[in-house]
């Protein structure tokens, strides 16, 4: 049942694809006292640059654990993880911070906003750590919050927001840095259907720009936004179904969406989003925007 990605690649795309996430036999074992609990029992997957993947599975199957490992927030007990061709085990703590800041946007299942900072300050924070100047920080954060429909709550504290609103702030914080990979752990879990559609449309737009999207969801209709669905059960991949090729347009991208999120501010500023040194074969996704038929 488990399909390896090498097979998928040859099956679906004749174009030279570039794997951005490669997991091989990832296991994660927690020690509960003296009892070892195997949460991941050999996860393998290959995700190409520009893919849109939905991960599904029962509660407790290990989806969040997998996402944390992909997001460089956690390390596997065993197995290999190459990110953009680099074995993450060789990276230092500082390298990993840089990757989390510039390459990956992560939406936590439990949002993880900083409680004592305003909505705007929370969204600005990744840009602050990247060294973006104040004015640009403000502009990009307001734009990201506008895209997720949170313009009316800029100065609120996270505790003053509903669950759905916190989730949309978390999405805004993940996309504000224009990351080339977006990892979203149930990003629509607390949203009403029209809000879900808006958030999913943002992800579709980002994917249309060439960004890689991996999201966890329980809902069939959210998974339908993706080009590929991976099912996890008891810590192993049990199903991997591709509905569209990697370089296809995302299936449910609205041609004239009510909210449009423009990530590319200027070619110059986009250049700073890339990690040129130390991380090998990464090229700015803007390249693929031009390649892509529109």
């Amino acid at each position: 049942m488990t399909s390896t990605l090498a097979k998928t690649d040859t099956d679906i795309s004749t174009r030279s694809s570039r794997p951005v996430i490669v997991l091989r036999n990832i296991t994660k074992t927690y020690m509960m006292g003296s009892v070892a609990v195997d949460v991941l029992r050999g996860i393998s997957m290959t995700i190409d640059h520009g893919d849109f993947v939905a991960i599904m599975g029962a509660s407790g199957s290990g989806k969040s654990t997998t996402m944390h490992i992909i997001g460089c927030l956690d390390i596997p007990s065993r197995g290999y993880y190459w990110l953009d061709g680099i074995d993450v085990r060789t990276l230092t703590d500082t390298d990993l911070s840089m990757i989390r800041n510039r390459k990956i946007g992560f939406v936590f299942q439990s949002f993880n906003l900083i409680p004592r900072l305003s909505v705007l300050a929370n969204v600005e924070l990744p840009l602050t750590y990247r060294g973006v100047n104040k004015q640009e920080r403000r502009e990009r954060s307001t734009a990201a919050l506008a895209a997720t429909g949170m313009s009316h709550r800029l100065t609120h504290m996270p505790t003053e927001l509903s669950g759905g609103e916190q989730q949309r702030v978390a999405v805004a914080r993940a996309i504000v840095t224009n990351p080339s990979i977006i990892l979203a752990d149930e990003p629509t879990g607390n949203l009403a259907s029209h809000q879900s559609a808006e958030v999913m449309n943002i992800f579709s737009q980002l994917n249309a720009e060439g960004r890689t999207i991996v999201l966890v969801t329980h809902e069939k209709d959210i998974a339908e936004y993706a080009k590929r669905i991976i099912r996890i059960q008891d810590g192993v991949v049990v199903e991997d179904i591709r509905s569209l090729p990697v370089n296809a347009m995302p299936p449910r991208l609205e041609s004239n969406p009510s909210t449009t999120y423009h990530t590319v501010l200027s070619p110059g500023s986009y250049k700073t989003d890339t990690l040129n040194s130390g991380l090998g074969a990464y090229t700015p996704p803007s390249e693929s925007i031009h390649r892509r038929p529109k």
């Binding site: 944390h68 997001g71 927030l73 956690d74 390390i75 703590d93 500082t94 911070s97 840089m98 989390r100 800041n101 510039r102 992560f106 936590f108 993880n112 906003l113 900083i114 409680p115 004592r116 900072l117 300050a121 924070l125 990744p126 602050t128 750590y129 990247r130 060294g131 914080r173 840095t177």
Partner: protein
């Protein structure tokens, strides 16, 4: 990241947890100001004790009649004789061959009298002595003239009076010199006014009158030839101990006894001063120890607050790392926070300490010791920075997911 960004993040961190920040500042503030104030009080009291002892006069020995021979149990029959200090003792001690280190001897016949001028009365102590007394006891005159040896010899009823006596007997602005006052019922002519000296221990040195001992014995005390004490002035402070043994030798010889059994107490100014100094330095050390404990308690309070908030802060650190803060960025933030808070708390403590030491505390003028400021401030900053930084450093070293899960 620019320094101003770091600074803004640190300030946000401080203002986001107002209560924690305020308590940290308070803990440091109390510790620092307590050290400064308590050390200053100890310092001030030892200085004032020194000053008081110095005011007693310079290089003087006081021979006090204890009225009884020996220090052992009195054996009845053999020691009924009352020992007295007489003019013979004065003459013997004044003899430069027997006591080469003695500069002068002033006998004291003192009593308390009611002084009257017109309708005003005032109770004052009268010192009957010789001309050398004023110098030995560091009295100076603000006006008029001192009693002279001639007046002592001729039993003249003249008197130098202290400033309190003047203010209690005379109207303001009235010149007391040349006026005649009554001590009990005897007339004395005021010839001088003593410059104010302030209080020394239990005696008010301005509520005093000095007259020739001859006149005092004639009119007021009643015993002839006997004195309550002798003020012996040494030639210099370095030879005061020599003068002391000379005086004790002479007194032992005239009273047919040994120095150990002398019926008089010889009080040495220098010994008194060194005893007092060691007592007050013990006091300073004690106060310093109390202050150090309060600084320590303040420090533990700071530590407690920092550790209590570490759960919340560890989650925050986890979030910051998850969105791409490097360990060094987090450390800089927390170091900035800790430094700002402890500098602020320390500086506020110094300010409050300086204000507090401007007030008289229990009769003592605190004297600020420079080392206490430096020490208290330094320790406060070190405590604040360490306990602000150490938990943050541990949290920043965690993997983001572990920091996020921390509780």
């Amino acid at each position: 990241m620019s320094w101003s960004d770091n600074f803004v993040i640190a300030i946000r961190g401080i203002t986001a947890n107002k209560l924690r920040s305020a308590l940290t500042v308070l803990g440091l503030l109390i510790g620092v100001s307590a050290v400064i104030i308590l050390v200053a009080v100890g310092n001030g009291s030892s200085l004032s004790v020194e000053q008081r002892i110095n005011q007693l006069g310079s290089n003087t020995l006081t021979v006090i009649n204890t009225g009884r021979f020996g220090r052992g149990p009195a054996v009845s029959g053999t020691q009924t004789q009352q020992a007295t200090l007489t003019m013979t003792d004065v003459k013997n001690i004044e003899n430069p061959n027997e006591a080469p280190d003695v500069k002068s001897v002033s006998p004291v016949a003192s009593t308390t009298v009611t002084a009257t001028y017109g309708s005003a009365t005032y109770s004052t102590s009268v010192i009957g002595s010789t001309a050398s007394y004023l110098n030995a006891e560091d009295y100076t005159l603000s006006s008029g003239s001192p009693i002279t040896s001639q007046e002592v010899k001729s039993h003249t009823h003249v008197i130098d009076i202290g400033s309190e006596v003047v203010s209690n007997l005379f109207d303001p602005g009235q010149n007391p010199i040349g006026q005649t006052i009554q001590l009990n019922s005897a007339n004395f002519e005021v010839i001088g006014v003593l410059a104010p000296k302030g209080t020394s221990g239990l005696t008010n040195e301005d509520s005093i009158a000095i007259a020739p001992y001859t006149a005092v014995q004639d009119e007021l005390t009643g015993y002839s030839q006997s004195f309550s004490e002798l003020i012996v002035q040494g030639k210099s402070s370095s030879t005061l101990n020599l003068a002391e043994s000379e005086v004790e030798g002479i007194l032992a010889a005239t009273n047919d006894t040994t120095v150990a059994n002398l019926p008089f107490n010889v009080i040495n100014q220098a010994t008194l001063l060194s005893t007092a100094k060691s007592t007050t330095s013990t006091l300073t050390v004690l106060l310093g120890a109390v202050a150090a404990i309060s600084l320590l308690v303040g420090g533990i309070g700071v530590m407690n607050i920092m550790l209590v908030t570490v759960t919340e802060r560890t989650r925050e650190i986890g979030i910051r790392k998850a969105i791409g803060a490097s360990k060094s960025a987090i450390l800089i933030q927390f170091l900035f926070e800790a430094v700002l808070l402890s500098l602020f708390g320390g500086a506020l403590g110094v300010a409050i300490g300086m204000i507090g030491t401007r007030f008289r505390i229990d009769g003592v003028h605190p004297v600020v010791a420079g080392y206490s400021i430096a020490l208290a401030f330094g320790v406060a900053v070190v405590i604040g920075v360490f306990f602000g930084f150490y938990p943050a450093n541990r949290a920043a070293s965690l993997r983001p997911i572990d920091a996020l899960r921390y509780d």
